[in-house]
Subunit: 406 residues, 2 copies
């Protein structure tokens, strides 16, 4: 094998997504793209807000001097970092402290931000705890830095259980990753839940005599239903970093812009910030894309028409419930994570595929017996898919019946 | 310490550059930016070519549909990959084989490309050989993937010595990194040198019974003096990857766009390409910035007015020679790497700083007794700096004299 053993292994593990992707391409080629209901990818289909597009044009037109496409300090253009810090101060009034430029490090998307955070915190052999179901890339991200992931299950309704989390703590634990609003469940942790988790982590830190970090992965923060605002994670635990991006709320995931926010309450925030900036430099990003940094500066409070996702979620959730699916209604994001009518979730997504529906088995998120739907397709397609979901349910019942009979 | 032990160490090693950068800011604040001769950073000061700026505007104006700022396959927009492949086929006629889209993986700059290459090839404990003097970030890049760097010195005139390289081969060696045109020396390896290196690596591969890879880091490829075209590295060794960017030739380093090119002669090019794409995805980049991919597609053959760097290099080289400096004339890039008049190169860059000249000691590049000048400043400033270089030389001679007298 010409590639490393580690990558060879990773290719095997990464191949499920790839095979699904390729099967989707085959199905679309065979039946026509409009006949296939592709709920597999979290790739926002809404246009970016006009304000962003105008700002991008304006930025490009004003970018004609030398240096505007050049290197800047590795943490980002200082005035953009300050604008992000002001936005954070404004949207986290509960913590009673101001974010400064040093607390915001601009990165290549939230994935870049998460990798900087893990690079800054992990020595080889260290562990991070994730709450299942979880975004499958976390395993790769931890492994990039010689770390590994320990899994704490959330409860039946995908609510965090601090005792489950703390049970996974060992002497090598460095951080707990939460993702709220959550991919794949759409759960948003409330203040009580976050404070309970914070207290449990505080206690565990004292026992270990070293601080555990909370890394809050929040790219879906603005996609919260019923006008809700997710609580400030910074207000619930001191040693907190948030990682996020503009990918989902501005619909620009391909442009790769995000940031790490370091809590201003953190005692050694300056050293952590230095380490994050160095991580950004040496992991290969060097800095977040210059033009996009400039373009988002004045639209930090804008977003695509995110209410669209809530309508889609309602239509899908109601349709699925009527068809007999068991699901916990999401509180945000564009995902749904219904229970699979078959215990074998991959067998069920195979049945869905017969109905030209693409979905991801829950096993891929560390929670078998479910499947994930990503609602990055229009309402019409969602409505049109519902009879097919109903048919898949019937097929699944037939399979279960036959299983019991034999 | 709240950050990892590994990052704490990296911060110490990374601090030289940082301290220099901060000292530069202090000096500029004190004396005025135009009074300080900053030859420390390789940040192109030329404007991007008009053709690129026009293409960027056009791309932004035409980017108003859904999805244009969205995710694409992790290796990049397929039609951009194909355009890059066509460019590679055209500029490497010697190899007698065509690059296809799969051979070009778009990345977050050359640093992103190098990290993808090392991630694809290295298991923890593996080694890469670098030719000194070398770009100091290679150490970090290898370490990111649990690897380490072994150093092979080039000769007095910075020419590669295949025997020196092969002497560093162990059972853990996976790759040799070359950087031509070279940062910091400006050397361009000729066909004979590359073939000799290739033959030595071929032989070493046979002895090891596993292929050694050549990673050619080529972001300065278009900055070759006297109308020269650097030879095709692909034609000199089969198991070759090239990593590069648009940072230096289009003057857009802050936008972070580059690519890895896999030799079409490589037997398992497909698997290596898959691994590189997966590396791009999981290292946090996910993909190269979408807008810039689209913008460069039609200007792959364009560049800034790179002849400017040759004029600057001539002026500086002649001025320094007149002032008594010993240097090997660069064949390309915007760097010069003169011999330090003091054995202690850091002591000499301190003297330069007294003259308000910022330069980097050669020790930082694994070659003590030299210093690096980056000519990303105008001709006038270069001319104005020459009397100060002369004065620094006098001071150095005084120091040497006193050293001998005591």
């Amino acid at each position: 094998m010409i590639i490393s053993g580690k990558m060879s292994e990773a290719l095997k593990n990464g191949s499920m997504v790839r095979e699904m992707f390729e099967e989707g391409i085959r199905l679309k080629a065979k039946h026509g793209a409009d006949k296939v209901y592709d709920f597999s990818l979290g790739n926002p289909d809404l246009p970016p807000p006009d304000s962003f597009l105008r700002e991008l044009e304006r930025t490009v037109e004003s970018c004609d001097g030398p240096g505007v496409h050049g290197y800047m300090p590795n943490g980002g253009w200082p005035y953009v970092r300050e604008a992000v810090a002001d936005y954070l101060t404004e949207t986290n009034p509960e913590i009673g402290a101001s974010f400064k430029g040093l607390h915001a490090i601009l990165t290549v998307g939230a994935a870049g931000a998460m990798n900087c955070a893990l690079k800054a915190l992990l020595d080889p052999g260290d562990e991070v705890i994730v709450l299942a179901p979880f975004f499958m890339e976390y395993r790769f991200y931890a492994d990039n830095h010689g770390g590994s992931v320990k899994v704490a299950q959330t409860d039946e309704r995908f609510r965090p259980d601090p005792e489950n989390v703390v049970r996974q703590v060992t002497s090598r634990t460095r951080a707990v990753i939460i993702n709220t609003p959550n991919n794949p469940t759409g759960a948003i942790y409330d203040e009580g839940e976050l404070k309970a988790l914070g207290e449990a982590m505080e206690k565990a830190s004292r026992t270990l005599a070293k601080p555990l970090f909370l890394i809050s992965d929040e790219p879906y923060r603005k996609i919260a239903f019923k006008g809700a605002t997710p609580p400030s994670v910074f207000a619930c635990y001191r040693n907190t970093l948030a990682v996020t991006s503009f990918s989902k709320d501005l619909s620009i995931p391909g442009e790769r812009l995000g940031y790490v926010a370091v809590s201003p309450l953190l005692e050694e925030a300056g050293i952590l910030s230095d380490a994050l900036v160095l991580a950004n430099r040496i992991l290969g990003s060097v800095n977040a894309p210059s033009l996009m940094q400039r373009a988002v500066k004045n639209v930090l409070r804008e977003s695509s028409d995110l209410a669209v996702y809530e309508r889609r979620s309602d239509i899908m959730a109601e349709g699925l419930t009527k068809a007999g699916y068991d699901l916990v209604r999401p509180q945000g994001t564009f995902y749904l994570f219904p229970r699979s009518p078959l215990e074998d979730d991959a067998a069920f997504t195979d049945i869905l595929r017969e109905e030209l529906i693409l979905a991801v088995p829950g096993s891929g998120f560390g929670r078998p017996g479910h499947f994930r739907l990503s609602l990055c397709v229009g309402e019409e397609a969602i409505r049109a898919s519902l009879p097919r979901f109903a048919k898949a349910m019937e097929k699944a019942r037939d399979v279960s019946r036959k299983g019991r009979e034999t």
